[in-house]
């Protein structure tokens, strides 16, 4: 039984099965799970089987890479040529992208087989996947609960072992929080490490593409293919991409891990704190040295984020005006009517809330008090992280203050919903790489532990997570009603 992407790749290389067989299996699991989980918005069976056949030729011809023939799912925020790309919104419910995102191109070139597009919070705005125009995703561990968000479909799909990899994006925790709530590994690289071209923008200075996988090793394998400078994204960074897999087995002895005091405050479920401290203990048994560090401005990260992200989103989402693509209202009577009705009908409540917040904080007379001040706090938080990394190699914290909550429990209270990202937002504001990995269960529900690294410290993060996963098997646990592996 192949439990991870790496094991699946080994099976393909050893001809235990073909890519077409794997794809058929994966499609069958996906179709079966869809009514229970609603994890996907589109299933691209025909495309997948064609890609799998090509992958088999590459495998037969000895031109295969480690990802060739592996089924995967793209978050529906990535533009995929010729395939519906909705971003979870009615606004784009008719949008067939004319081009591929750079991430999509790279994984295509690596020979991966796209099964479909994952459900998500509308325009990646949400922490529960309940803002999707296509309905909420259910958590495979308990279908009455949310999978987290915004990459809820991606996390649920990997948790239910529909595919070993789903791409995801993280603006304030949208990879890590659903990974924690679904018991899978979620990896957000450094801002600029992976191209944003073709990834529909929410908050450009915070958005980062990453992956949701079973293991850190799988994340390393896929990051290898996704990372790198893209001349079409000015904010992607031109630094060499190291061999992430090569350092996975480096010993952790002497590695210094910092515990952020501010991350263990009120609001954290006690069982989660206990499991996170157990994970830390497991790491110390491998020779990791623990230090307590303080990031005094970190409690300001949520309010800072909820100025910066809505400001950028209010501008980024202006292009959805009913003129060139996307939803257009019926029989507009004039230009203003076309704009207001198309946008009123096309966007959901949470998106509207953020557009309005963002418009407000950028308005004449408020810019200095909100946007400018938020930028200053952001710089402060970034500096505090930077000085923390003078003393430690990585930081460790819970990923989410709670386990998966019930569907509908927080939808009436946006502020409570926003606090789901309290531990994850700091890494976005500072542009740092971070991951969440399973570290046990609170009752029946998975709990995640977060590791944060310095800029371009991906290799170190993956190394620590891989070593932890060598010593534990939390990441290999699967929900009872879903498959235990991929083939």
């Amino acid at each position: 039984m192949a439990r991870t992407l790496a094991e699946l790749a080994a099976g393909l290389a050893a001809r235990k099965y073909s890519a077409v067989e794997l794809t058929r299996d994966a499609l069958a699991r996906t179709e079966r799970a869809q009514p229970q989980l609603n994890a996907l918005i589109s299933i691209t069976a025909e495309w997948a089987l064609a890609a799998a056949a090509v992958a088999d030729q590459r495998l037969a011809g000895g031109q295969a890479g480690p990802l060739t023939g592996i089924p995967m799912i793209h978050k529906d925020i990535f533009c995929t040529e010729g395939v519906l790309t909705t971003c979870g919104s009615r606004m784009l419910s008719n949008f067939v992208s004319p081009y591929d995102a750079t991430v999509v191109t790279k994984l295509k070139q690596a020979g991966m087989v796209m099964l479909g597009k994952a459900n998500m919070d509308e325009f990646a705005m949400g922490s529960s996947n309940e803002t999707s125009f296509y309905g909420p995703v259910k958590n495979p561990w308990d279908p009455t609960r949310v999978p987290g968000g915004s990459s809820g479909g991606s996390a649920a799909a990997v948790a239910a072992r529909l595919a070993p990899l789903a791409t995801a994006t993280d603006t304030g925790g949208s990879i890590r929080q659903p990974a924690a709530l679904c018991g899978v590994t979620g990896f957000k690289p450094t801002y600029g490490r992976v191209s944003r071209y073709g990834m529909i923008a929410f908050a450009s200075s915070l958005d980062q593409a990453g992956v949701i996988t079973v293991s850190a090793e799988d994340a390393a394998l896929t990051l290898q293919a996704m990372a790198g400078f893209d001349p079409r994204d000015s904010t992607s960074v031109d630094v060499p991409v190291p061999d992430y897999r090569a350092t996975l087995n480096a010993p952790l002895a002497g590695m210094k891990i910092g515990i952020v005091k501010e991350f263990f405050g009120a609001g954290l479920q006690p069982e989660i704190e206990k499991l996170v401290r157990e994970a830390l203990a497991a790491l110390t048994r491998m020779g990791v040295v623990v230090k307590e560090v303080s990031l005094p401005s970190l409690p300001l990260s949520v309010p800072t984020y909820y100025v910066v992200a809505p400001a950028e989103c209010s501008s980024n989402l202006a292009r959805f005006d009913g003129v060139r693509f996307g939803h257009r209202c019926e029989n507009p009577k004039d230009l203003r009517d076309l704009y207001t009705r198309s946008r009123a009908e096309g966007f959901g409540d949470e998106v509207k809330r953020r557009i309005m917040t963002g418009t407000y904080v950028l308005s004449a007379g408020y810019y200095d008090a909100y946007h400018l001040k938020a930028q200053k706090v952001r710089a402060l938080i970034t500096d505090e992280f930077r000085s923390a990394f003078q003393d430690v190699d990585l930081l460790l914290s819970p990923t989410s203050p709670t386990t998966a909550f019930g569907l509908g429990d927080q939808t009436s209270d946006p502020i409570t919903m926003y606090l789901n990202d309290i531990y994850t937002i700091g890494a976005n504001l500072a542009g740092l790489p971070a991951l969440s990995m399973p570290c046990g269960f609170a009752g029946e529900l998975p709990v995640g532990v977060q590791l944060i690294g310095p800029h371009f410290g991906e290799a170190r993060l993956l190394n620590a997570a891989h070593q932890y996963q060598q010593a534990t098997d939390w990441h290999l646990k699967t929900p009872a009603s879903f498959a235990e592996g991929f083939a």
Partner: protein, 489 residues
């Protein structure tokens, strides 16, 4: 408003204050943030890629050539060049603005304070301050007519690089504003950063206009005039607006701060939107683009490659050719005209002023008449130089040279050929001219008697008769000398 009216306004104690915002399209091959071509006149929407169309997920990538061009402009006006400038988003909704925001520069423009020396019609030089110049993308074009009740959008122009040059409110009349605008026009073409084509909208401006009581320190309330795409319209629109404001103020009213659109067909401005209706553009730094950071080496390299600029060239013309400042300014208004002049002057090195007169006079008039640019001239500099050489060596008189010029312009022939074929060569043979004079004197005894009795004016009569008899070919100096001798009592 006519100049007479303008001066009446001034006498009425009002002073006009004008600042211009000039938009010059940069002559890059591709757009400022995408790879689409910038060529004018293509089929609608054939030069707009996904970036220009503002598709979901696409990102802007800055065109380095546009940055170089903006810096060259800054260097040419002695402005400070920002070592770090930042692109910002100007947010507003309009169908020809695909992203819902225009990428511009706001707090940190690439070019800071500079100035231009502008020669006025009376020959005086005025210094006009430039507040800043920044890079931005152009919007597309909306067409509201000719599409059966709907509007059409052409996004070919969307994303074309612009430099917006913002002046200080330093100009005091429409004529000054036009002179400044012409100077900027000259400069951007010298720098080869803009083709200056106003019909195609490559060079256009908005004018901020206000009036105040002469001597007042505080500026009056201003109106911003849009859609000024010719020098003539700038002058007319400003004059019209000044009169409108004076009329309001003199009848006890108040000028409202607003944006007004100039309608060249009706020669009037009308309100587009008031200050209250103005957009709140919600500028903020564009997170998709990094700050533009320039180092000294980059700036120095551009500085060292600047061409000879209009003022430098004009100064050289004064020194090298001994031309009056006014001629030098006129001849250097375009690099092509200046080059043409220098080539003509090379044919008559001792008579550079003669060359200037002909280039500014008959030659420019002929170009104007046929609506041609100097680069499309029917006559080469060598041809014109050839004609002038014949004036200098007395082969043809200045007067007949004009006739030669006409023929050359019409059929492209050489001066010598025309002079030969038409028999326009000057008569410099004293015997031949003397014979003609003798005949005229003999035929006009009364006039001779009158002249000799003191009617000096009749000298002209004899010159005219002699010219008539020689078909205008008599060498004028020689004719004068001989006539004086022969008419003497």
């Amino acid at each position: 408003m006519s100049d007479t009216q303008q001066s009446q306004a001034a006498q009425g104690g009002w002073e006009t204050v004008i600042g211009l915002e000039i938009h010059a399209q940069l002559a890059t091959q591709s757009k400022i943030f995408s790879g689409s071509p910038t060529a004018y006149g293509a089929e609608p929407n054939t030069q707009a890629d996904l970036v220009d169309l503002g598709y979901p997920g696409v990102l802007p990538v800055l065109n380095a050539e546009a940055v170089s061009m903006a810096v060259r402009f800054g260097l040419a006006i002695g402005a400070s060049i920002s070592r770090k400038s930042v692109f910002a988003r100007k947010n507003y909704f309009y169908p020809d603005l695909p992203k819902g925001y225009q990428i511009s520069q706001y707090e940190l423009p690439i070019v800071g304070k500079g100035a231009l020396e502008v020669m006025q019609e009376d020959g005086s030089v005025k210094r006009v301050g430039v507040t800043r110049a920044h890079l931005e993308e152009d919007a597309g074009k909306s067409q509201h007519e000719g599409h059966a009740g709907v509007s059409a959008i052409d996004l070919n122009r969307a994303g074309t690089p612009l430099i917006e040059i913002v002046s200080e409110p330093d100009m005091r009349s429409a004529k000054e504003a036009v002179a400044y605008m012409r100077k900027v026009h000259t400069l951007v073409r010298y720098l080869s950063i803009c083709d200056g084509n106003m019909q195609e909208g490559s060079f256009r401006c908005d004018a901020n206009v206000s009036v105040r009581r002469r001597g007042a320190e505080k500026f009056g309330t201003r109106a911003e005039l849009k859609n000024l795409n010719s020098f003539r319209f700038v002058e007319k629109a400003i004059n019209h607006e000044v009169q409108r404001q004076i009329d309001i103020l003199e009848s006890g009213g108040k000028v409202v701060q607003e944006t007004r659109l100039y309608d060249p067909d009706k020669d009037e401005t009308r309100s587009m939107r008031s200050k209250e209706e103005a957009n709140d553009y919600r500028y903020f730094p564009d997170p998709d683009l990094l700050p533009v950071v320039l180092d000294e080496a980059f700036i120095d390299a551009l500085r060292s490659k600047l061409p000879e600029l209009p003022d430098q060239k004009a100064a050289r013309f004064v020194k090298q050719y001994g031309l009056p400042e006014y001629d030098a300014q006129l001849l250097t208004a375009s690099r092509e005209m200046a080059g043409f002049y220098e080539a003509v002057a090379a044919s008559v090195p001792a008579d550079a002023k003669l060359a200037a007169n002909w280039v500014m006079g008959d030659f420019s008039a002929a170009l104007n008449k046929d609506g041609l640019d100097v680069t499309a001239s029917r006559m080469s500099a060598a041809q014109l130089g050839g004609l002038l050489a014949r004036i200098v060596d007395n082969t043809v008189s200045g007067k007949l040279a004009k006739e030669v010029f006409e023929v050359m312009w019409a059929d492209g022939s050489e001066a010598d050929t025309v002079i030969e074929a038409r028999g326009l060569k000057q008569i410099t043979d004293a015997g031949a001219i003397g014979k003609v004079i003798d005949e005229i004197i003999a035929a006009n005894p009364k006039q001779l008697a009158d002249y000799r009795s003191g009617k000096d004016k009749l000298f002209g009569f004899f010159v005219g008769q002699a010219m008539k008899a020689t078909g205008g070919k008599a060498n004028p100096a020689l004719l004068n000398d001989l006539l004086k001798t022969k008419l003497a009592p």
